[in-house]
C-alpha cells in the first residue's frame, strides 16, 4: 500500500481513489461471487457433488455364500455346491481386442469352454453385440487362463453348481435344484429355505486400485446356507439302491422302493428308489423318475397288512390264537376268495404264516371295517409321517365311506381297499418290531429322544411277532431268511388296481425286521409289476430284503441271535 502513493503525487504512480474503489469493488464482487457459489454448491446444495464423488468411489459389493451341504448321518456329502464361473462374452470388446479374428486364440478359448471353435466364432461374430452367453459352469481353475486369452471381452461371474457325489443312489431322496438354484424334488425342496444361502450386499469406498478402503455398511445381511444331516446311512443307501435296482431289472419290473428304518429311533437309514436318475446330468433328466416313490406312490398293501388286521381282531378278543378257521375258498358277493397256498383249516398263526386270504376274510367280516380302520390309523396309515419329505402322500383309508359291500369288508382283511406308502408300511413294521410302540419316523438325524407312543397292546404284538418269524422260517418268506439271525416279516403279493378293476400286474412286497429278539432294523421292499416270471413278494422282494438287511446287521455290528 505504501508503494501506491496517494493523491499527493510524490510517487511514480498516481491512481485516484475512484479507480482504487472500482478495483476493490470488482475484486470484492468476484470474491463474493466465488464464496457464494462455493457456499451454494458445497453447503446449501451439496447433494449433486456428493453423488458425483460417490459415483466414482462408492461401490456395492455382492457376495453369495454357498448353499448348505446335505450329508448322511456319518457326514458323507450327498449334495454340495461347488464354486464355478459362468462365462459370457462381449463380442464388441473381443473384436476390439483382435481376439475374434484370431483363429488360434479362438480355438484355445473353445478348447477351454469345451465348444466347437466354429460354434464359438459364430456366436461372437456380430461386433455390435455386447452380451453373448457362452457357458454355464466353468471350473474355477480354468477361469484365469480364459480371462488372459479373452481380456475384457470375456465376462466371468461367480456361481455355484450343485454336485451330488453319490449320484443316482440318493437322487430321488435328495432331489435337485432348478436353474434358479431352488430345490425341486426331494430334500432339496423340503428344506429349501433352510439350505438356501442369502447373498449379502454391502457398500464400500474403494481407491483407484480397487482396494476397499472403507466399509460403509451392509445393505442386505447375507447368510450361509444351513447344513442338513440326514438320517440316511450312505453305505446302506448305496447298497440298497444297487440291490433294488438289480432286482427291478432282473424281474423286469416297473419300479421298486426300499425303506430301512432304525426301530429304536425311527430314523430312516436307507430310502432307495428304482428307477432313479443321474442328478449331475441334466441333459437326460426324466421327470417320471424324479419323484420319491417311497413316499409319493401309494399302493394296496395286500398281505403285509394282515398282521394289523389280526391285531385289531385280537385286541377286541374276537379271535384268539387257538381258534381254528375254515380256510377253504368261499364266495362273497359272487366273488371267490381263495388262497395261493391251499389249506383247508388253520389257526391265526397258520393264516399269517401261509398268508391265507380266506382266513383273514373271515376275521375281517367278523369284526367289521371300522375296527380295522381304527387300528390302521393307530399304526400311522392314512396320515403323513413326520418325515417332512416333499410330495409325501398320506395314503387312503376311505374310513368315511358310507357303504361297505361284503366283498369290500372281506378284502379289507387281506389289505385291499386301502392304499399306503412304503414309508408308512416300514413305520408300521417298526412299530410291530418294537412291541407296539410307534416311533415317529425322521429323515433327519435326530439328537433328541424320539416321540414314542404305545399304539397297541404289547402282549398281542409279541404273539404276532412269533407268527411273523414263522413266515420267514417256515412260511412264504423263506427267501428273506438270514443265517444266524432270526428274521420276522411278511410277504405281500397284491394285484395292482387299474381303471375298471384289477389287471395282471402285481405289487410284490416284503416287510420285516431283524434281529427277532432285539429288533434293530425294519425294512420294507416293494417291487411294482415284476414281469419276468415270479410275482410273489417272497421271491421278488425277499432276496433284496435279505441282502440289505444282512448288510445293515453287519455294518452296525448287531450280534446274531441264533446259535
Amino acid at each position: 500500500m505504501s508503494l501506491l502513493k496517494n493523491a499527493k503525487g510524490n510517487g511514480n504512480l498516481q491512481i485516484s481513489y475512484f479507480r482504487i474503489g472500482i478495483i476493490w469493488s470488482v475484486l470484492i464482487l468476484l470474491m463474493g461471487f466465488l464464496i457464494t457459489r462455493l457456499l451454494w454448491i458445497q453447503v446449501l446444495h451439496p447433494d449433486r457433488l456428493i453423488a458425483e464423488g460417490n459415483a466414482r468411489v462408492v461401490r456395492n459389493y455382492h457376495y453369495e455364500p454357498a448353499r448348505g451341504l446335505i450329508t448322511d448321518r456319518n457326514g458323507k456329502i450327498l449334495a454340495i455346491s461347488v464354486p464355478v464361473k459362468t462365462v459370457d462374452a462381449d463380442p464388441k470388446r473381443l473384436h476390439e481386442n483382435a481376439v475374434a479374428d484370431d483363429p488360434k486364440k479362438l480355438s484355445e478359448i473353445a478348447g477351454i469352454l469345451d465348444m466347437d471353435p466354429r460354434e464359438l466364432a459364430e456366436k461372437i461374430k456380430d461386433p455390435t453385440k455386447r452380451f453373448v452367453h457362452l457357458k454355464h459352469y466353468l471350473e474355477v481353475s480354468k477361469a484365469g487362463k480364459l480371462q488372459a486369452l479373452g481380456g475384457n471381452g470375456i465376462i466371468l461371474n461367480d456361481s455355484y453348481r450343485r454336485f451330488y457325489p453319490t449320484g443316482a443312489a440318493n437322487a430321488n431322496l435328495v432331489g435337485i435344484l432348478n436353474g434358479e438354484g431352488e430345490g425341486i424334488y426331494g430334500v432339496e425342496q423340503s428344506f429349501n429355505s433352510y439350505l438356501t444361502a442369502v447373498a449379502s450386499t454391502s457398500v464400500a469406498r474403494k481407491d483407484r486400485y480397487n482396494h476397499i478402503i472403507e466399509n460403509l455398511g451392509v445393505i442386505k445381511e447375507g447368510a450361509a446356507g444351513g447344513n442338513l444331516m440326514l438320517s440316511i446311512d450312505n453305505r446302506l443307501q448305496s447298497f440298497a439302491y444297487q440291490k433294488l435296482d438289480e432286482a427291478v431289472k432282473l424281474n423286469n419290473a416297473q419300479s421298486g422302493t426300499a425303506v430301512l428304518i432304525d426301530v429304536r429311533t425311527g430314523e430312516v437309514l436307507a430310502l432307495a428308489n428304482s428307477p432313479s436318475f443321474d442328478p449331475n446330468d441334466r441333459n437326460h433328466f426324466d421327470v417320471a423318475n424324479a419323484r420319491n416313490r417311497a413316499v409319493s406312490d401309494i399302493f394296496e398293501p395286500g398281505s403285509t397288512m394282515k398282521p394289523v388286521v389280526a391285531l385289531a381282531a385280537l385286541e377286541g378278543k374276537d379271535v384268539d390264537w387257538n381258534e381254528v378257521f375254515d380256510t377253504r375258498p368261499f364266495i362273497v358277493d359272487g366273488k371267490m376268495v381263495r388262497d395261493s397256498h391251499a389249506m383247508s383249516q388253520g389257526t391265526l398263526a397258520d393264516i399269517i404264516k401261509y398268508s391265507s386270504n380266506t382266513g383273514m376274510a373271515h376275521i375281517a367280516l367278523r369284526i367289521g371295517p371300522m375296527r380295522i380302520m381304527s387300528m390302521m390309523e393307530r399304526f400311522g396309515f392314512g396320515s403323513k409321517t413326520q418325515s417332512g419329505l416333499i410330495g409325501e402322500s398320506s395314503g387312503k383309508l376311505n374310513a368315511n365311506r358310507r357303504f361297505w359291500s361284503e366283498i369290500d369288508k372281506a378284502t379289507l382283511g387281506f389289505g385291499y381297499g386301502v392304499a399306503v406308502t412304503n414309508l408308512q408300511l416300514a413305520s408300521a413294521y417298526a412299530t410291530l418290531a418294537s412291541g407296539g410302540i410307534k416311533t415317529e419316523v425322521s429323515i433327519l438325524r435326530s439328537s433328541k429322544a424320539p416321540v414314542r407312543t404305545q399304539v397297541v397292546s404289547g402282549d398281542e404284538v409279541f404273539r404276532m411277532q412269533n407268527a411273523l418269524e414263522t413266515v420267514v422260517a417256515e412260511g412264504t418268506g423263506g427267501k428273506a431268511a438270514i443265517d444266524r439271525y432270526r428274521v420276522a416279516g411278511k410277504t405281500g403279493t397284491a394285484k395292482i388296481a387299474q381303471a375298471g378293476g384289477y389287471g395282471n400286474d402285481y405289487m410284490s412286497t416284503f416287510a420285516g425286521y431283524a434281529p427277532f429278539l432285539n429288533p434293530r432294523f425294519a425294512l420294507v421292499v416293494v417291487i411294482s409289476s415284476p414281469k419276468a416270471g415270479s410275482i410273489y413278494g417272497g421271491t421278488v422282494s425277499g432276496p433284496v430284503f435279505r441282502e440289505v438287511m444282512s448288510r445293515a446287521l453287519q455294518l452296525y455290528n448287531v450280534p446274531p441271535d441264533k446259535p
Binding site: P83, V140, T166, H211, I213, E214, D483
Partner: protein, 189 residues
C-alpha cells in the same frame, strides 16, 4: 491532520534536551518518541534509573530506521504504537523472531501441536484405510479359500464314494463281504 501527526516522529538533528525527557512531559505536550528515548539512552544521558523504564515503554523500543520518506508515511498512517523494523536495536532478525516466539510460546506450541495432530490424523486415516484394504483382501482370500475347500471337498467325496470303493475293492482286490455265517463274533466284556 497529516501534518500534525507527523510531528510524532520527528528526526532530531540535535540532541534532545535532557530536561525535557526527564520531565516526561515534552515541551510540546507529547510523549517522548522512541527515537528520542533511544538516542538519549545511547548517549548515556538518561540516568541509570532510566534503565528501569516502565515495561510499557520497553515494548515500544522498536525504532524506525527506514528511509525518511517511508518513515514519514508510516508515521502518518500508524499512531506509533507498533512500528516495524528490519532491525531491532541494531540486533539481527533471527534472535528477534525467537524472542517473539518465546514470548508467545503457548500460542506457537499450540500451533505446533495442532499441526502434529493434523498430521497424525492424516496418518491414522491412511493406516485405517490400509488396514481396511488388508482386512478386505483377507476376507476375499477367505471366501476364495472357502470356495476352493468346497471344490476339494466335492472331489474327495466323489473319490471316496462308498459304492465306487466297494466296486473297486470287489473287482481289483477281489474283496468280498463275508457272509453272516462266516463272521466271528467277539463279545467284549
Amino acid at each position: 491532520m497529516q501534518m500534525q501527526q507527523s510531528t510524532a516522529l520527528k528526526h532530531y538533528d540535535e540532541e534532545p534536551k535532557l530536561e525535557e525527557l526527564k520531565r516526561g512531559e515534552p515541551a510540546n505536550a507529547r510523549e517522548p518518541t522512541i527515537a528520542e528515548l533511544e538516542k538519549a539512552r545511547i548517549k548515556g544521558k538518561i540516568h541509570p534509573g532510566a534503565e528501569d523504564e516502565p515495561a510499557k515503554l520497553k515494548e515500544r523500543i522498536v525504532s524506525i530506521s527506514i528511509s525518511p520518506e517511508l518513515a514519514d508515511d508510516y508515521a502518518m498512517k500508524r499512531p506509533a504504537r507498533v512500528e516495524y523494523s528490519f532491525k531491532n536495536n541494531g540486533k539481527s532478525l533471527v534472535p528477534c523472531i525467537f524472542a517473539e516466539i518465546l514470548r508467545n510460546l503457548d500460542v506457537y506450541a499450540l500451533i505446533v501441536v495442532m499441526t502434529l495432530l493434523a498430521m497424525f490424523k492424516i496418518y491414522q486415516v491412511h493406516e485405517t484405510r490400509s488396514m481396511t484394504a488388508a482386512v478386505n483382501e483377507v476376507s476375499i482370500g477367505n471366501a476364495n479359500l472357502q470356495k476352493e475347500w468346497l471344490s476339494l471337498l466335492a472331489q474327495r467325496q466323489s473319490l471316496s464314494e462308498h459304492s465306487l470303493i466297494r466296486e473297486q475293492a470287489a473287482q481289483k482286490l477281489e474283496m468280498f463281504q463275508p457272509k453272516t455265517e462266516e463272521e466271528i463274533v467277539i463279545r467284549l466284556p
